[in-house]
Amino acid sequence: MTGSVTAKYREMRVNATDLFDLVLLALLLTCAIGIARLKDLAACAILFSAYSFILCLVWAHRGAPDVAMTEAAVGAGITTVLFLVVISRVGRREK
């Protein structure tokens, strides 16, 4: 059974930067600049989660499914939850 799944993965060849990549990269920059400008820490944490997910898409598209899987669980999941827990303790307003 794993053989057929492996075959599916082999079909996803990566190509040089295409329009999909450009859109994702633009979204990445937007998220990062949004984090820099926003004063609401909870919004920053959620934006960071979105940032991680977009990065995970970029990596899945770059032929790195292992890294993408880890980033989706760690960056978008665990790190964001840790940030939110701490923000719920220290207050969400940045001065």
């Binding site: 060849r13 990566v14 820490l41 770059r62 292992d66 890294v67 880890t70 303790r89 220290v90």
Partner: protein
């Protein structure tokens, strides 16, 4: 024209640099400790993005090699490196966050300005206390 073509072909690297600089900007200018850690995370992920991008190859498949598969394959070494890096990054982040909670318990704030103020106030209080005891 040549510059534009180079920028387009290297857009992944350039975006990684831009993300690194944005993260550095957040880390340096924000006075809030939690925001600083978010900035640090952006810097880390931008470096990961750069390393993963160096490993990709045109028309390459993920590095799952079976006998008889001609390739080309993305280089597995940057992927293993970044995998290690991601897990270390979450360790660093959680340690920083728990230290921030400790700072909050100590000073009642996570803003650098306010911590500096309360440190200064604490210093003067301590000094006057010491002077008072010396007078006795």
């Amino acid at each position: 024209m040549k510059i534009a073509a180079t920028a387009l072909s290297h857009v992944d690297y350039l975006v990684a640099v831009a993300l690194f600089l944005t993260g550095a900007w957040i880390l340096l200018t924000s006075g809030n400790l939690v925001k600083k850690v978010i900035g640090l995370n952006i810097m880390e992920t931008s470096v990961f993005a750069f390393i993963v991008t160096t490993g990709m190859i045109d028309g390459g498949a993920p590095p799952l090699v079976a006998p008889g598969d001609p390739g080309p394959f993305a280089s597995p070494l940057p992927h293993a490196l970044v995998l290690t890096g991601i897990v270390v990054a979450v360790s660093v982040t959680s340690l920083a966050l728990v230290l921030i909670l400790r700072v909050r318990a100590e000073f009642g704030s996570v803003e650098l300005d306010e911590i500096a103020l309360s440190l200064a106030a604490g210093d003067t209080a301590e000094q006057s206390e010491r002077h008072g005891s010396a007078d006795d």
